[in-house]
């Protein structure tokens, strides 16, 4: 019966019946289950095999991962390479399904090719074709890998160029941030009997909030908190513009506002008018606006003259911390309506009281659930901080806002100024 099976194998089709009989009685046989390994890569053995039935796969390992090189089925010969060049097995061979093979030892192989030159020629042809196919496959693989590498290299180059570009922007933003920080007052004036503390932090590299503390002469102190619409670079440009104009107009009113101006309230309204008029005139098409609270404090008696251009009304707190009230709202923000008047309003800060100036980045700071810190929480922390210095109260509020948002991304710039009068 094995003779019949061997006869069906093309390799042996032309062999004499005598030789086939001899083979059938002498050749070893192997039965493999699906998944069973015939030999492993690196094994040293010099038998080759002819598949009588079943399917075998040739597997190699690249970086620990299996790659199937070939699949052979009934009638095909495997493992003859090691037999010919006596080298370790170059790949693993494994049964795909239940397979039946005959084993041809080196001695059998010699007898076979010696007895039948046609068989030897076929085997040579077979091996040559396999080598040729393998070469061709390797070349195709190399070409494909080369194309992939080239593509990866181009992507890498593009990514690197993008990285360099982003780095440059980041460096520029870092410089812009430094410049913007220099727009905040280097020191905060601390008139006798008063404490001023302030803090500002942008949501992005540069911000749309600012505060200022301007020493106006005669001991008067200009206190400013402002918030340009939006955030980031656009807002920062308007911060630079409005802060500079406001400060210059406040410190040199005789140049910017004309004539000799001595009245502090006129400096206040004149500076606001100038900044508003300039932005409305020069930048109307951008529709940018700035909410701005500007107060002039007379530290000697606690009198506060202020203009509120659309900014969150500051809070005034008594010495017990129990009474918190908003200063009156004022006019539209700066940059909306040309020639707008900015009427001055008045308040009085009594001994022990304090004034809290802030931007909506504090009350609208969002936690991860999208809920704002809101006015109530701000009022609660202001009560909690009663008796603390201005500086400490600023730190306390910022700490509580940060704890509330608990790492959620900062949505808006936050700015806070606390002005306290000693009891």
């Amino acid at each position: 019966m094995l003779q019949d099976l061997l006869r069906g194998v093309p390799w042996f089709a032309h062999l004499d019946a005598k030789i086939l009989d001899h083979m059938a009685t002498h050749l070893g046989q192997r039965h493999l289950e699906a998944g069973e390994v015939l030999f492993n890569q690196g094994d040293i053995s010099y038998d080759c095999f002819v598949i009588i039935d079943g399917v075998m796969e040739v597997i190699t390992f690249v970086n620990g991962t299996e790659h199937r090189l070939e699949v052979y089925d009934a009638g095909q010969m495997i493992g003859e390479m090691a037999l010919i060049d006596r080298s370790p097995r170059s790949a693993m061979v494994r049964a795909v399904n239940a397979s039946y093979l005959v084993v041809i030892t080196e001695a059998d192989f010699k007898i076979l090719i010696g007895s039948n030159p046609e068989l030897a020629m076929n085997m040579l042809r077979n091996s040559t074709t396999r080598v040729r196919n393998t070469n061709q496959r390797m070349i195709s693989d190399l070409e494909r890998k080369n194309a992939e590498l080239l593509k990866a290299y181009q992507q890498l180059k593009a990514a690197q160029a993008e990285l360099i570009r982003l780095n440059r922007i980041e460096q520029e933003m870092a410089v812009a941030r430094q410049i913007q920080e220099s727009f905040l007052p280097r020191t905060l004036a601390q008139p006798a009997g008063w404490q001023v503390g302030a803090y500002s932090r942008g949501a992005q590299a540069v911000g749309g909030d600012f505060y200022d503390c301007i020493e106006l002469g005669n001991g008067r102190l200009g206190l400013v908190v402002a918030d340009a619409c939006g955030k980031g670079v656009t807002a920062a440009l308007f911060v630079a513009l409005s802060r500079s104009l406001l400060r210059a107009a406040s410190l040199a009113p005789w140049i910017f506002q004309g004539g000799m101006i001595h009245d502090i309230e006129n400096i206040l309204t004149g500076a606001l008018w100038l900044v508003n008029d300039y932005i409305c005139r020069e930048h109307a098409e951008s529709n940018m606006f700035i909410t701005l609270f500007y107060a002039v404090l007379n530290p000697s008696n606690g009198a506060l003259a202020y203009v509120n251009a659309g900014h969150n009304p500051p809070l005034q707190i008594d010495d017990s911390g129990q009474h918190i009230h908003e200063l009156q709202e004022g006019t539209l923000p700066i940059g909306i309506m040309a020639s707008q008047e900015f009427p001055v309003q008045h308040a009085h800060i009594a001994p022990g009281e304090r004034l809290i100036l802030f931007t909506d980045g504090i009350t609208e700071a969002m936690n991860a659930a999208g809920e704002p810190f809101n006015d109530d929480r701000l009022h609660a922390v202001l009560r909690e901080g009663v008796g603390q210095s201005s500086h400490d109260l600023v730190s306390l509020v910022i700490r509580q806002v940060d704890a509330y948002v608990a790492g959620a991304p900062q949505a808006d710039d936050i700015t806070l100024m606390v002005v306290s009068r000693a009891a």
Binding site: C229, F289, G310
Partner: protein
């Protein structure tokens, strides 16, 4: 952004969150819709629960674009916290604001 015509009024229902992202999503479409209408516009803000300053700017820009054409942009249905923002910024003095859509439409008819 839901848009409908009621009589000669273009009624636009603004989305809930008008933060930087929300504004960017509707800004161009809104400007185009409002300027091509050239007439009475009503922004129904009853769904809006957050406005960033950029949203105020967007409304201001649209107001400025319709007024020279003889139109108007009015607001209706501000939730309390939104009304607070309009009060503090005094944007309540720029716009005619109504409690709800029906009252605003009646005012446009009158």
């Amino acid at each position: 952004m839901n848009v409908e015509h009621i009589d000669d009024v273009l009624v636009i229902e603004l989305p809930a969150r008008l933060d930087a992202v929300g504004v960017a999503a509707i800004e161009n479409n809104l400007a185009e819709t409002v300027t091509s209408h050239k007439g009475k516009v009503l922004a129904d803000m009853s769904q809006v629960n957050f406005v960033a300053s950029l949203a105020l700017r967007m409304l201001l820009t649209n107001l400025k674009s319709v007024q020279p054409l003889g139109g108007d942009l009015r607001l209706a249905g501000l939730q309390p916290q939104i009304a607070e923002i309009f009060r503090k910024s005094r944007f309540d003095t720029l716009f005619k604001i109504y409690p709800d859509r029906e009252v605003a439409l009646a005012a446009y008819r009158g």
